[in-house]
């Protein structure tokens, strides 16, 4: 299935991505080639196959573990904000969302 430039721009919007002009030029053909290759999966009859589930990895001994739901110490506000590009008074700050 070919992926047009319009579709590339639509997908980029869904993914919150801005593309460079070079990417807008090259992505349609590159993604079309990849999707065309992927389309060979349609040869396979999968009507009676259930989609893979994470729990089917490994054997019985590998059953995913859960822990008790107990409140524990976390990073703390100062550490959590330490890498923020913009923080103020204990908050991450972003441009105004509501006018």
């Amino acid at each position: 299935m070919p992926i047009t430039r319009t579709e590339v721009e639509k997908i980029a919007k869904l993914a919150n991505l801005e593309l460079t002009d070079a990417e807008k030029e090259s992505f349609p053909a590159q993604l079309s080639a990849i999707v065309e290759y992927i389309d060979q999966l349609s040869e396979l009859d999968t009507a009676n196959v259930a989609p893979w589930q994470p729990r089917s990895v490994g054997n019985a001994a590998s059953s995913f573990a859960s822990r008790d739901d107990v409140v524990e110490a976390s990073l703390g506000q100062e550490t959590a904000l330490a890498e923020a590009p913009n923080a103020d008074e204990g908050h991450f700050t972003v441009p105004r969302v509501i006018g």
Binding site: L14, L17, L31, E83
Partner: protein, 478 residues
Amino acid sequence: MSTPLTIEEIHKLYAAGEATPSEIVRTTLEKIEADNERLNAYLTISKESASIAAAAMDNEIQSAIQTKPLAGIPVVVKDNMCTAGIRTTCGSRILGNYVPPYTATAVQKLQAAGAILVAKANLDEFAMGSSTENSAFGTVRNPVNTDYVPGGSSGGSAVAVAAGHVPVSLGSDTGGSIRQPASFCGIVGLKPTYGRVSRYGLVAYASSLDQIGPFATSVKDAARMLQVISGHDRHDSTSSNAQVPNFLSALTGNIKGLRVGVPPECFGEGLDAEVRTKVEAAIAKLKERGAEIVEVHLPHTKYVVAVYYLIATAEASSNLARFDGVRYGHRTEDPRSLSDLYRRTRDEGFGAEVKRRIMLGTFALSSGYYDAYYEKAQRVRAMLANDFAEAFKKCDVIATPTAPTPAFKIGEKSDDPLAMYLGDIYTVTMNLAGVPAVSVPCGASSAGLPIGIQLIGNHFDEARLLNAAYAFEQENSI
């Protein structure tokens, strides 16, 4: 002083009082610094913290080597594993100055076992690539021949060992990112069973496929590393509570009666003639050593790359949504709105291959395409997992080439993503099925480029898998 190439050799020097951790670390750092301009294998060299850690061990090293399996051993870690206080970039501009507040469990376990972290290794951005040409901080070069790629995405970690800087390193493997660079650089690289090693602190690319594993110059050292990093971690609910056997004591070299499955589907079209010859010769050596060679089938091999690039990119598009310029990492200047902040931050922060994969994954998950692509891939994934279950009824390990070709030239495939992806045909299936696999050197091409054989085991059967690899290594060195 030339740095010894194995853990055992370094421990012998310590035991004989012929070297101290400070001396070993100093020599290691000198080599790393001397070679880095040529190889570009490192993004951060932790000179100060490594020197301090080494000095703290100097007086106790005699007793430490009795109790700690990696006492005084310099190690390198791929730069997608978080290290508290040490920059962790993922090879991306978006995390170019990121200093994590915590350390990945696997790295913490290495340090608790006495290892000294000397550097963070270069990689394809967010581990997306098969050549380590996609790093925002430049291409890594293969020490065997610097015109060639080292493989990827754990290229820097492979080079660290192959160039003789450190005896062991950690990489991560989502679709072959440990095994393929091990093959291209002529060293041992192991992807453990999914769930064997905690992923806590490994920056996620594709969570159902990602697994941390070691590079080493020998199977023994790979086993030593696996021993240290394995086991359940309460911070990763997908880490397994399966028992961790003694991997080192499993290395007897005896493979009499071991059934080695050979799938003809992995020796077909697209396989380089020299790779085929070397891998077939390696299988013959396993037979000489007492293994029984049996034919098994992986009938859906032609579909595995398609399945992988749907599932991995779908998971990536979700995982990488967190890089938005709000909580950490790069943020664009003067955003006009919140959506402008997201979009320009991500444009400036991500390289082309990361964007391509986010785009492909977003497409596969989007309304109208989900059933035909993402869900279809998950159905075929179940078929692939079943193929392994069937094959392992007839054999104990499976042997294939690690990669269809030896290392390729830098730049050769960088404009053709599909051609690059097709090189992953022999490695992605093990991630999709969750089984362990190891690449072991089995010769070189006429151009002198290394070739690896891949041995694949059943879930949580690394002990037997590593013993098969060890037996081959022994037989091959005769």
